[in-house]
């Protein structure tokens, strides 16, 4: 049994991680495209329109990858997590089906119109199709997060005698206290990713002195949006999420903050340290006293439960991974704010376009928001362990009863192979698009 869950979890983790590379760019980028298109409508300056269309080319490739890696996600609920789907399908099926029905529909329908229909429709309608693509992708995020929030903090349901979870209150799925903070944080985080990518392309053009006009435009826009989004990701949304975890998943909170032992009064915040699971302590710890209690409860002296206060089978099963994921996310978030502040300051002093070290940094930083996003999700998903539906359904009880681990291993290897190929193709095509630049009209 143990073995079976292991491969199922690994497969889910691998495929969702790969899937999530794409939607995070889609969601943020669609906002930036709408922004450029809007600027064009306001000013009638051709370069904004070209910038929007250029980003849409990258968007389209990215979107295709999102769709083809997303369909396997939906399947896997049935194939690998049959017990979970059987027991809770009447609930999570609602939000997942809504996602397909509304969001995917909006996006894929209007994306084709946006790409092929500019001449047919006129500028106002063209803007509208872009806006609907944006709306679709954010609705996608919202409904998926509604699903995930229900798993993190289940609401509005009853358990029948046969063990089934049935919905008793539909609107509770959307007023779930977990949902809004999680959604806003996630959307801001995806805006971080796309702003950094746009700024990075801009920095690349400026450094190579190619497509200079666009390079500057992209860089400037990326930096401004990047700064705003980086700030919002940390505060208030990140902070708000942390409070939710402390309130609803205290065991996960203790593990992600690395609190092995409950302190008498205020809890310290750990900046650096490696969890040592054998001795149940942090090695090389660097910590500031009382800060964590203050951040979480605005009370310097408030006690926070450590891992010693929870039964072994209530604690997440991979504490080091959870701890590192969380600290990598927060650490990167802090670095992002720093760099974007510096870049925005230079922009304001009109020095950014000539200040090479910062340009290089911005160009090379593009992969890191992806890491922050993925480690953020690992924090959420590892922290949810050992439950699939927090507090109710254990992960081990959600797996498909008839699929053997050999079969899962086989398909996992299949996914690894195919996704490797997809990843290479994706880089090749995006690289080519960036290389051709925004001016490229012909083939």
């Amino acid at each position: 049994m143990e073995d079976i869950i292991f491969y199922d979890r690994l497969q889910f983790a691998f495929t969702i991680t790969f899937h999530y590379i794409f939607p995070q760019l889609t969601m943020g980028l669609s906002l930036l495209i709408v922004f450029f298109k809007w600027k064009f409508l306001r000013t009638s300056t051709e370069k904004y329109n070209n910038a929007a269309k250029f980003l849409m080319k990258i968007f389209a490739i990215n979107f295709t990858m999102g769709v083809i890696t997303g369909i396997p996600m939906e399947f896997q609920f049935g194939t690998n997590w049959a017990k979970f789907s059987e027991l809770t399908g009447g609930i999570i099926g609602q939000t997942l089906a809504m996602e397909g029905l509304f969001s995917f529909f909006l996006e894929s329908s209007f994306l084709a119109l946006f790409i092929f229909g500019e001449k047919l429709m006129g500028q106002k309608l063209h803007f509208l199709t872009g806006f609907l693509v944006f709306l679709g992708s954010w609705a996608s995020g919202y409904l998926i997060l509604a699903t995930n929030s229900w798993m993190q903090h289940p609401v509005g349901f009853e358990i029948l005698e046969n063990g089934k979870y049935v919905l008793s209150n539909f609107s509770a799925l959307f007023s779930n206290p977990w949902l809004l903070p999680s959604f806003l944080h996630n959307q801001m985080a995806s805006l971080v990713t796309s702003s950094f990518v746009v700024a990075s392309i801009g920095a690349f053009y400026v450094l190579r002195e190619k497509h200079l006009e666009y390079g500057k435009l992209l860089l400037k826009t990326g930096v401004i949006f990047g700064l705003i989004a980086s700030l919002l990701v940390a505060f208030p949304t990140g902070d708000w999420n942390a409070k939710n975890v402390a309130k609803y998943q205290p065991a996960a909170f203790a593990a992600m903050e690395g609190i092995f032992e409950t302190e008498h009064a205020g809890a310290e915040i750990v900046l650096v340290g490696q969890p040592n699971m054998r001795e149940k302590k942090l090695d090389n710890k660097l910590a500031v006293p009382n800060i964590l209690s203050f951040l979480t409860y605005q009370d310097w002296g408030k006690q926070i439960k450590g891992m010693d206060k929870f039964a072994e089978d209530e604690l997440p099963d991979n504490i080091p991974a959870l701890y590192y994921s969380y600290h990598i996310m927060v650490g990167l978030g802090t670095i992002f704010i720093g760099i974007m502040f510096l870049a925005a300051f230079l922009l304001w002093r009109k020095k950014l376009f000539t200040f090479k070290p910062v340009l290089w940094a911005i160009m090379l930083l593009a992969p890191f928001p992806y890491i922050a996003n993925i480690t953020g999700w690992y924090t959420a998903e590892l922290g949810r362990q050992p439950y699939l539906v927090y507090g109710y359904l254990k992960t081990a009880d959600g797996v498909s009863p008839t699929v053997s681990s050999g079969n899962t291993l086989f398909t996992l290897m299949g996914f690894i192979g195919i996704y490797l190929l997809l990843g290479l193709l994706f880089l090749l095509l995006v690289g080519k698009t960036i290389h051709e630049g925004p001016n490229n009209k012909s083939h």
Partner: protein, 357 residues
């Protein structure tokens, strides 16, 4: 309520096969018939412009199935684990084949993605047919061995095939000669559909040749269909009961056979869209007749220990089904409206539309 959602999902599935069926079919034709680059391009274009908008119907059917029949979704998806995963991989290859072929100009690149598109379309059509064949034939629900179920509830798991390759074996596999015949029927139907689509939508140079091909494929289709219907009677002796009890259901097989007969006259049609209309009838009639024959069963049991899976014992709770109605209807209306608008906007040949970059 169950019946309502069942019909909605069946209709969405059927629309998916009609819409994406022409993409698949165009892929199959592309693989075997298209030799010149101009034809290849225009065929890929006739399939590629809207494949993702067509796939929406697939994702939605899956999502609604999950919502309305969660138990069925879980049992069937885990039971058909391997073929479903293979279908997923094929869908990935087909999508990238279509999306990426025009990204680079050199021939080798195009050839690779053309083949990916064609072969995966062919295999997908086959797999979908085999899947339908499995639903018709039924499976060993509960994994019964000497009168005892191995699995709880109504779960099952199918190997890819059993050594005898026979649909009458008590431990059927995904592939046996019956399901493969249904798979071939599906390939033929979809190939005809795709060919009709190409004739309808493009000015490719092979259009005339395609008409001859269509007639030939149609003969094979008719023979195989009659043969499989005959065998079907052996599988379920109640096979015709639903039709005798409810005469109006006979409409579905009538649509199907009208489609097949109409297709024989493909060379005589004045308008290029007529052929497409008839192959649409074949797909629509075929799917609906099959479901009507089985109703309310959605997965027959091949042993007499465990019951068939029906829409009644697989459905979600009433509150869930009713709540979903409120948003479901809005969504389905939106999708249908969009589809109609899109089909009207893109009427006529597509040779002149922009495609790729």
């Amino acid at each position: 309520m169950e019946i309502f959602w069942y019909i909605i999902i069946a209709v969405i599935m059927a629309v998916f096969f009609i819409l994406d069926g022409y993409d698949f079919g165009a892929g199959i034709i592309h693989l075997f018939m298209a030799k010149k680059e101009e034809d290849k391009l225009v065929i890929a274009k006739s399939a590629g412009l809207f494949w993702d908008a067509n796939e929406v119907w697939f994702v939605v059917a899956g999502g609604l199935l999950f919502m309305a029949f969660p138990t069925y979704y879980s049992i069937v998806f885990s039971g058909f684990y391997l073929p479903l995963m293979i279908i997923l991989w094929l869908m990935i290859f087909r999508a990238i084949g279509l999306e990426f072929r025009n990204q680079f100009r050199y021939q080798m690149w195009k050839d690779i993605w053309d083949k990916a598109f064609g072969i995966s379309s062919l295999l997908l059509a086959l797999f979908f047919g085999v899947g339908l064949g499995n639903v018709v034939r039924g499976v060993n629900i509960g994994g019964v061995e000497n009168g005892v179920s191995l699995y709880e509830n109504s779960y099952f798991f199918l190997p890819l095939w059993n050594p005898e390759f026979s649909p009458l074996n008590n431990h059927p596999g995904i592939f046996d000669w019956f399901t493969i015949i249904i798979g071939v029927i599906s390939v033929l139907t979809i190939a005809i559909h795709g060919a009709n689509w190409i004739i309808y939508k493009t000015n490719s140079t092979i259009n005339e040749k395609l008409k001859t091909t269509i007639v030939r494929l149609n003969i094979a289709l008719l023979i195989l269909t009659l043969f499989s219907l005959n065998f079907w009677r052996n599988l379920h002796n109640s096979f015709f009961d639903n039709f005798w009890d409810n005469w109006f259901l006979l409409l579905f097989p009538i649509i199907f056979f009208t489609g097949i007969i109409g297709t024989f006259f493909v060379k005589k049609f004045k308008k290029s869209g007529h052929g497409f209309m008839f192959s649409t009838m074949v797909i629509l009639g075929g799917i609906t007749s099959t479901l009507a024959s089985l109703f309310p069963i959605i997965m027959p049991s091949r042993n007499n220990v465990n019951d068939d899976l029906t829409i009644y014992n697989m459905a979600a709770e009433n509150y869930e089904l009713t709540t979903a109605l409120s948003w479901g209807i809005v969504g389905v209306i939106l999708m249908t409206t969009y589809l109609i608008v899109r089909l009207r906007l893109t009427r006529g040949k597509i040779d002149d539309m922009e495609y790729g970059h």
